[in-house]
Amino acid sequence: MNEQLDALTQQAKLDLQASSSLTELQDLETSLFGKKGKMTQLMKGLKDIPPEQRKAFGQAANKAKQELLELLADKKDDLSDSLSGSGVSFDITRPGLPLTGGALHPVTQMMYDLNDAFHSLGFEIYEGPEVSSEGYGFDNMNFPADHPARESMDTYWLEGYEDKKSYERLCLRPHLTGASVRYMQEHKPPFRFVYPGRVYRNESTDASHERAFYQYEALMVDKHVPFSSGRLMVNSILERVFGRHVETRMRAGFFPFVEPGFEIDMQCLVCGGKGCSVCGRTGWVEMMPGGPPHPNVLRAGGIDSNEWMGFYINIGLDRLVMMRYGIDDIRLFHSGDIRFLNQFQ
């Protein structure tokens, strides 16, 4: 009997291994454990065994049966452990189920990246009003009284206030820098802060000009902030934003509210400085103006320029975003068009 059980088990294991379909496996299971199955028959023979051997054989047969059933179940799973075997059928090449969509505006995303970068350097965030006055737009910014920008049509003056002067002459802010004087008037140095926001110019629009665009300014004021510190700040921020080392250069530029004024260029990321159509073959891309606040600006902010120094940078946010994604039309930012916005999820 024991030999019979061994042989049967041996053979069953071989058959099990050889079966290649669920039907074959089903047949094998019936041939072993069905009513007339070999194993069933063998177990039925138990009663003919001498009682002293019966217990041992019974245990052995049961063990073998459990083993085979486990193996059968494993094999069954193996055979059905593929899509076709499981009885379920679908096309795995279909796209995954969509999420609900939705996205922050790409300019907002860039603004948050910059906020995080400046936050890590200990800058806080500030916001000024969008309807502001000539006082903060020009007077405090060291624009001479007869500066063309004051009378030109570049600024959106508000009706009913256009003939007034200074703080009573209201406009949509033409730049962000005016807000820095508000901050200076409200805080005591030393301080470092950023003030992102939208500014307005009355001009005709095309792929690279908008009437409303975003600027991102940073100002630090401390006892000792030489140009060299300003340049380090610029580099730290750009590296954080672009995720790698970027070469910058600072060159002469002129803006009334800084003295001296700088144009800060970044080596073109498209050509690596070799010169290409994006950078006008110069290898450099104009990124931002900057420089120490003009003493008159500090004075307007209530700060003694003999005691304190500072450094401004003013980043054109739209332009930075356009560079980041290769966007070729600035007007898309205010289009509200989901076909554009859903590319930045």
């Binding site: 609900t100 969509g101 939705g102 996205a103 922050l104 505006h105 300019v107 907002t108 948050y112 906020n115 200990g122 806080e124 009003p129 969008e130 309807v131 502001s132 006055s133 903060y136 001479p144 049509m153 959106y156 003056w157 508000l158 009706e159 256009e162 703080y167 009573e168 209201l170 949509l172 508000r182 008037q185 030393p190 939208r198 009437r211 401390d222 006892k223 000792h224 902030v225 030489p226 140009f227 060299s228 510190s229 340049r231 380090l232 250069r249 600072m250 002469a252 002129f254 003295e259 001296p260 700088f262 144009e263 006008g280 073959r281 003493p295 205010h334 509200g336 068009d337 989901i338 916005l341």
Partner: protein
């Protein structure tokens, strides 16, 4: 502005190994932005002077000729040409194979090859002036006219680049980078910068001895407020003829077409020194008297460009006793200028009030090379340099010309300007150790006079930098730093003091809201302009009265600043529905209230209220879906923020766009902070939006009072199992879920929560009824519930709902 390197080299001997590119880079870094440059020398490779020895008919083409051309060294080649002015003995420019030409002066440069033209082999081409970039220097009357060099004594075979002064490097300077530097609007000023950058000598300008008599020329300066200086010279015995080739080449190289010696000289002086000048024919000036005055009422002036002006009484003219001769500082008059017959000149070099020139030029919309320079505040001392250079050149070119008179009006020369600055001040700001000697050397190279006592410099500002450009110690720092080179300043980290952590809940709130709506709400953030499109403002039911308005708006229908985000959202939704069946948009932006003013920073400045709002729009073809989606987003948004608990209440709001009965007001703490509602059918119709319903919400973020962090408390998990019990009951249709929920919740303390599952109206439901399905979660914190307890609660609920709200089981 164009700058010629050859012209610069007349004033400064630059190191011979300097490349054009290096100069462009150094100028850009230290002084002005060079946008590009052209090296013209390679343009004339393989172009020679040739002499035509025979003009023969082309065997196969009536309009073409075959010329024998002497190319020097005894070499004669046949060249096919269609020029209209070909003749024997003519000196011409020959582009031989390998030369680059521009066909008919248009398109890209093309390299010439030996080719057959209608069967005849042609050794290159005989060039028209614009085919080899000489169109400015030698203007042609028609396109078939060949450049005729016969008036010059050139030997055949001479490379054109040697024969003509045309090899140069032309820099294109960004005018915007020059606005603060009136001294750089001419070659001499640029030469001074380069001399300083490369530590070279700047050559002095030629001198001229001015006559002591006025030779009868009288000046009458009435507008003394606008005329700072006026010099006049009388030059007799001049003849108006072409200027010498070198001068023509100089002017052509910077884009100025040569006209005749007198006109060219005025232009030459302007491009050399940045000082505009003007020449009158003395015969056209009545009684030898020039008057500087404001124009009278109804006065007219015809200008050189042919335009006729009706002068404003604010305009400034140079006139004689019969009327205006020129628009001061901007453009000369048609009748008083130099003509072929001119023999005596009155030559004007003046200095005008820059603001006046800018306003006057923009009044008539005339911007000239002259007005561009005068509006930058030119150094009045330069007028004398201008006079002397003009007179020097004129009398050198025409030795017979005689300068007989000189007179000027210059009542108040500007005072000398000095700036005191400490060495430490300079070093602290630049962030680099610099010796006193180096500071002195850099400043001296730029024309500043420096005297030093201990560590304090007294810096006298040269007149050409003293018209507003340099006036404070910081300006001196800039001069030193830019000559040292900003590239040579090392990075130094600013000292950082440990400060307390930055807590800005209000900015965090803004960011949390936007991030929630985009990421969890699945909405797209849009930017819209602060001015509102009238059509959508009116569609949303808002009034345009009392809004703030823009003087010169982007369009007549976008005059008003927005008072709500709803019109923007309607407009953007409408546009997106062209491409999408549904859409979800939001915007965070300020709105502008023209009725409420208060100070923002200082008392003197009263600004309109401009609170920050957040608005959203969800468009869907099913009204219920649109509304409930918006409600879900707003509810969860507010619950996620670190603010007091928000309440949404069924009550009418003042929002004119809201549908009655589908409006919830949103309150936080004591404030009503916003509204959520379906846009009414009227709003959609007026906005031209079809097929969808739009749920809109608007929140005033300034009324939210955020805490630094969201406070959340952990609730322990139940110790004993809880039981979910589902019920579906029939109610009259007007029974609100909220009343069912409130009632069920208070039926028994074992009810932990009541959760809405489904609402159904339809076939199996009797008319006027609806089925509400919900789930109660029952639990006892101290014991396991028995099934009897559960059933008792359920019975109690059924009983009370039936009694108080008329709800009962469906099969009853």
């Amino acid at each position: 502005m164009k700058i010629s390197l050859q012209w610069i080299k007349e004033y400064v001997d630059l190191p011979s190994d300097l490349t054009a590119e290096q100069i462009a880079y150094d100028l850009t870094m230290s002084t002005v932005e060079v946008e590009g440059w052209d090296d013209t020398s390679s343009l004339f490779d393989n172009i020679l002077v040739g002499q035509i020895s025979a003009v023969k008919a082309h065997p196969d083409a009536d309009r073409l000729k075959v010329c024998d051309v002497n190319l020097g060294n005894g070499e004669t080649k046949e060249i096919v040409c269609g020029g209209s002015n070909l003749r024997e003995e003519m000196l011409v420019a020959i582009a031989t194979p390998g030369a680059k030409v521009r066909w008919h002066g248009e398109g890209e440069l093309v390299e010439l090859k030996l080719t057959k033209i209608r069967g005849v082999e042609s050794y290159g081409m005989i060039c028209a002036s614009n085919e080899i970039g000489l169109g400015e220097l030698f203007p042609a009357d028609d396109e078939k006219e060949i450049l005729d060099l016969s008036s010059h004594e050139f030997a055949a075979g001479t490379p054109l680049a040697e024969a003509l002064p045309v090899c140069d490097v032309i820099y294109d300077i960004d005018n915007k980078s020059l606005t603060n530097r009136p001294d750089l609007w001419g070659h001499y000023g640029m030469a001074r910068e380069l001399a300083a950058i490369y530590s070279c000598e700047l050559n002095p300008l030629p001198s001229f001895e001015l006559p002591s008599s006025d030779a009868g020329l009288k000046l009458q300066i009435e507008a003394t407020d606008l005329c700072r200086r006026f010099t006049g010279a009388t030059i007799e015995n001049v003849s108006v003829q072409p200027s010498p080739l070198w001068m023509q080449a100089r002017l052509a190289s910077v884009g100025q077409r040569p006209i005749n010696l007198m006109v060219d000289l005025t232009n030459y002086v302007m491009f050399a020194l940045g000082q505009p000048t003007h020449a009158f024919d003395a015969n056209n000036v009545a009684n030898n008297k020039l008057i500087v005055r404001r124009a009278s009422k109804d006065e007219k002036l015809s200008l050189l460009d042919g335009s006729a002006l009706e002068l404003s009484t604010e305009s400034l003219v140079v006139a004689d006793e019969t009327g205006p001769l020129s628009l001061a500082g901007i453009m000369g008059g048609e009748t008083s200028g130099v003509s072929d017959k001119t023999t005596t000149l009155f030559f004007e070099v003046a200095n005008w009030d820059p603001t006046h020139i800018r306003r006057d030029a923009s009044r008539y919309n005339i911007r000239t090379e002259s007005s561009m320079r005068f509006e930058k505040a030119i150094d009045p001392e330069r007028a004398l340099d201008g006079s002397k250079l003009f007179l020097h050149l004129l009398t050198t070119i025409q030795p017979n010309a005689s300068v007989t008179g000189w007179t000027e009006h210059y009542p108040t020369p500007p005072q000398e300007l000095s700036v005191e600055v400490e060495r430490e001040f300079i070093i602290n700001r630049i962030g680099k150790e610099i010796s006193s000697a180096e500071i002195t050397q850099k400043l001296t190279a730029l024309g500043f006079e420096v005297s030093q006592t201990d560590d304090c410099f007294v810096v006298r500002v040269p007149s050409w930098r003293a018209t507003g450009d340099v006036s404070i110690p910081e300006d001196i720092v800039e001069e030193v730093a830019r000559l040292i080179g900003y590239d040579n300043i090392e990075f130094v980290a600013p000292p950082v003091e440990l400060t307390k952590a930055i807590q800005q809940p209000r900015f965090d709130l803004d960011r949390s809201i936007r991030t929630f709506l985009a990421v969890k709400g699945g909405m797209y953030e849009i930017f819209a302009y602060p001015w509102a499109e009238e059509k959508f403002v009116q569609a949303a039911g808002f009034s345009l009265e009392h809004t703030l308005t823009i003087c010169d708006p982007p369009s007549p229908s976008t005059k008003s600043l927005k008072t709500s985000l709803v019109p923007d959202l309607l407009e953007a939704t409408k546009a997106n529905l062209r491409n999408f069946a549904t859409c979800s948009l939001f915007e965070v932006s300020r709105i502008f209230n023209g009725q409420s003013f208060s100070h923002w920073t200082i008392q003197e400045e009263k600004l309109p209220a401009q609170p920050k709002f957040c608005g959203g729009a969800i468009a869907h073809n099913d009204a219920e879906t649109a509304f409930l989606k918006a409600k879900g987003i707003v509810t969860e948004l507010l619950a996620s923020l670190p603010i007091h608990k928000a309440r949404l209440q069924e009550q009418e709001s003042s929002a004119p766009w809201a549908t009655k009965g589908a409006t919830l007001t949103i309150s936080v703490g004591k404030h009503e902070v916003g509204v959520l509602a379906l846009a009414s059918p009227k709003v959609l119709r007026k906005a031209g939006i079809e097929r969808v319903h739009i749920a809109l919400f608007e929140l005033n973020l300034d009324l939210l009072d955020p805490k630094p962090i969201k406070e959340r408390a952990y609730t322990p998990l139940p110790k004993y199992p809880q039981v979910d019990y589902d019920l579906a009951l029939l109610f009259d249709q007007d029974v609100a879920w909220s009343s069912v929920e409130q009632l069920v919740k208070k039926c028994d303390p074992l009810i932990q929560s009541v959760c809405f599952a489904d609402e159904y109206r339809g076939k199996q439901i009797p008319d006027g009824k609806k089925s509400l399905a919900f789930q109660m979660t029952l639990g006892d914190p101290k014991a396991t519930l028995t099934s009897e307890q559960v059933q008792a609660v359920a019975d109690k609920v059924l009983q009370r709902v039936d009694k108080e709200l008329g709800g009962h089981l469906r099969d009853k």
